[in-house]
C-alpha cells in the first residue's frame, strides 16, 4: 500500500502553527501541544497500522516555514513485519531559515524475514536547528526472535544550502555480518543514533557536556559522543532495551529543545568586607 503524509508548519506572531496536514491511510496527525504558554508546535504522527507490511511504501514530507519550531512525535514502536519484497519509506524534511525541527521516534522492531529500506533527506538553511534520532532493536527478543530479519537499511542525508554536511548509512544484514562481530553490535541487542545540528551562531560545546552527563547516567549502555563536521554532534549508543534508549534520547531532546542548557548568569561573588562586618 502506498501511504502519504505531508505536514507544513508555519510561524506567525511569534507562534508556530499547523498550516496544512495531508495524509492517507494509515496516517493521522494530532496536535499534542500541552501548554498555552508554549509557542512551539507539537504534532504526533498516529497510525492505524501496527507497522509496515510487505510492499508498503511510505512517502513523508515535512516543511517548516521560516521561523517555525516543530517537535514531531511518534505514537508507538514501529514494527516491520515478515516480508518477501520489502517495505520502503521516503522522508523529506525542508527547513526554511530560522527553524527548529526535533524528532525522536519510537524504536523500530524488525521481525523475522523483514526487509526495509529507508531514505531520509533533510535540507537546512541558516539559523536552523535539527535533532533527529533512530533506534533499531534486534526484533522480538523476548519471543526468541533476535536478529532474524533479512535486511534493514536506512540512509540519512543532511544538506545545508545544497552541500552535504552529514550522512549516516545504516545497513544491517545479520545473516551476512553477525551482529556480535567486533565493530558491530558487540553483544548488545539495540542500537541508537542521535544527531543534533545547528546552522546558527550558537556554539554547541555547552550541549556536549550536558548530553555526556545525561547518557553517562544510564546503566548497561555503551556510547560515544563526538562533535560533527559542522556545529553539532553525533551520539551513538548500544544497549539492551528499547525503552531505555528511547527515554534517554527523550531526555537529550528535552534538554536541548527547552534551550535551558545555557550557563546561568554568574552569581556575583559576595565581597569579603560585609562578611567580616557580620562576623564582628
Amino acid at each position: 500500500m502506498i501511504s502519504q503524509l505531508s505536514i507544513v508548519a508555519g510561524f506567525r506572531e511569534k507562534k508556530s502553527y499547523l498550516v496544512d496536514a495531508f495524509f492517507t491511510r494509515p496516517f493521522r496527525v494530532a496536535n499534542v501541544g500541552q501548554y498555552k504558554t508554549d509557542d512551539d508546535l507539537y504534532l504526533m504522527v498516529m497510525s492505524s497500522s501496527p507497522g509496515l507490511l510487505d510492499n508498503d511504501q511510505y512517502a513523508i514530507s515535512i516543511k517548516l516555514e521560516a521561523g517555525a519550531r516543530l517537535q514531531l512525535q511518534s505514537q508507538a514502536y514501529q514494527r516491520l513485519y515478515r516480508m518477501q519484497t520489502g517495505a520502503i519509506q521516503n522522508m523529506k524534511i525542508m527547513l526554511e531559515p530560522g527553524c527548529a525541527f526535533s524528532y525522536v521516534p519510537h524504536p523500530v522492531v524488525p521481525h523475522q524475514n523483514s526487509k526495509f529500506e529507508g531514505h531520509t533527506t533533510i535540507y537546512l538553511q541558516e539559523g536552523c536547528e535539527l535533532l533527529l534520532s533512530e533506534i533499531i532493536t534486534c526484533g522480538r527478543k523476548h519471543s526468541g526472535e533476535a536478529f532474524l530479519f533479512t535486511s534493514f537499511q536506512n540512509l540519512t542525508e543532511v544538506y545545508y544550502k545544497q552541500k552535504l554536511i552529514l550522512k549516516d548509512n545504516v545497513l544491517l544484514q545479520p545473516r551476512q555480518v553477525p551482529p556480535g562481530t567486533i565493530g558491530q553490535w558487540e553483544g548488545y541487542t539495540h542500537q541508537g543514533t542521535l544527531v543534533y545540528l545547528n546552522t546558527g551562531e550558537q556554539p554547541v560545546q555547552v550541549y556536549l557536556e550536558k548530553v555526556q552527563q545525561i547518557v553517562a547516567a544510564e546503566k548497561g549502555v555503551f556510547f560515544g559522543l563526538s562533535q560533527a563536521a559542522i556545529n553539532g554532534f553525533v551520539l551513538r549508543i548500544l544497549g539492551h532495551g528499547g525503552e531505555q534508549l528511547f527515554n534517554c534520547f527523550k531526555r537529550v531532546q528535552g534538554a536541548i529543545w527547552q534551550n535551558n542548557l545555557l550557563p546561568e548568569a554568574p552569581v556575583p561573588a559576595k565581597s569579603k568586607a560585609p562578611l567580616l562586618v557580620q562576623q564582628v
Binding site: E157, N169, L171, T181, I182, G183, Q184, Q191, F223, L238
Partner: protein, 229 residues
C-alpha cells in the same frame, strides 16, 4: 622499465610515508585499553572486521570512486566525494585524521609534477570546499600515476593492513612474528576485498559500523593515549 607504475604505486602506498599514519590507531587503542583486543586471535578478528566491514564500504570504496572521477577529469565529482567523506565520518578524530593524512600526501606528491586536476582540487581545499581526505587523494594520484585501479585498491588494503598489524604489535603487544603471521593469512582476504570493492553498489558506500564508531568516539576521552585516534 621507464615510467612503470609499480614504483609509483609502492611509493604512494608506502605505510612509512611521512604523513603521520603511524600516529593513528583508528579506535584500536580504545579496544586494547578495554581488553577486547588482547592477543593474536582477537587482533586478527579486529583487523579482518575493520577491512571487510568498514574499509571496504568506506575508504576503499572512495579510492575507487575518486579514481574514476579523476579518470573523467571531473573535479566537481572529486569535491563532492570529499564532502561526502566529511559528512560520513562522525567520530571527530577519524575525520581529522583522514584530512591530515590526505593533505600531507598531497604535499608530498604535488611538488613533483603539475596536474590541472590536482590544482583544482587544492584550490577547493584552500577555499574550504573540500577537506582533502586521504582516500580521495590516494585515488586521485593512483590515476595520475597510471596505476591500474585494482592494483591501487589492493595496495590500499595492504597498506591499511600493515598499519593495523604494526599498531597491534605495539599496543597489545604482540611478537613481530605473530604480526607477520597475521599479515600472511590476510593475503587472500585482501585480494577478495579488492574484487568486492570493484563491484560494490553505490548505495552501500558509507555503511556505518556502530561498534567501531563508538570506540573511535570514546578514544577522545581516554585517560592515557599513545595515538591521536
Amino acid at each position: 622499465m621507464k615510467n612503470h607504475y609499480l614504483t609509483s604505486l609502492l611509493h604512494l602506498s608506502d605505510p612509512t610515508l611521512p604523513i603521520g599514519g603511524f600516529s593513528h590507531s583508528n579506535g584500536l587503542e580504545a579496544y586494547v585499553q578495554q581488553g577486547t583486543v588482547y592477543d593474536a586471535v582477537s587482533a586478527d578478528s579486529f583487523i579482518r572486521s575493520m577491512l571487510a566491514n568498514n574499509i571496504k564500504y568506506n575508504d576503499a570504496a572512495f579510492v575507487r570512486l575518486a579514481y574514476e572521477a579523476a579518470s573523467r577529469q571531473d573535479v566537481s565529482e572529486l569535491i563532492q566525494l570529499d564532502q561526502e567523506c566529511t559528512a560520513l565520518k562522525s567520530p571527530k578524530e577519524i575525520r581529522q585524521a583522514s584530512m591530515k593524512l590526505g593533505v600531507r600526501l598531497l604535499k608530498i606528491f604535488n611538488r613533483q609534477t603539475d596536474h590541472q586536476l590536482v590544482e583544482h582540487f587544492e584550490k577547493a581545499i584552500l577555499e574550504k570546499e573540500a577537506a582533502g581526505h586521504y582516500c580521495i587523494t590516494f585515488g586521485l594520484y593512483a590515476f595520475l600515476l597510471h596505476v591500474p585501479v585494482k592494483e591501487a585498491l589492493l595496495a590500499f588494503y595492504y597498506s591499511a593492513a600493515v598499519g593495523m598489524v604494526t599498531n597491534c604489535v605495539k599496543l597489545i603487544p604482540l611478537g613481530q612474528l605473530d604480526g607477520q603471521n597475521i599479515l600472511f593469512r590476510l593475503h587472500p582476504l585482501l585480494e577478495q576485498l579488492t574484487e568486492e570493492t570493484f563491484d560494490l553498489r553505490r548505495e552501500l558506500v558509507g555503511v556505518c559500523n556502530i561498534g567501531f564508531d563508538i570506540h573511535c568516539m570514546q578514544h577522545e576521552h581516554l585517560y592515557s593515549r599513545l595515538y591521536m585516534s
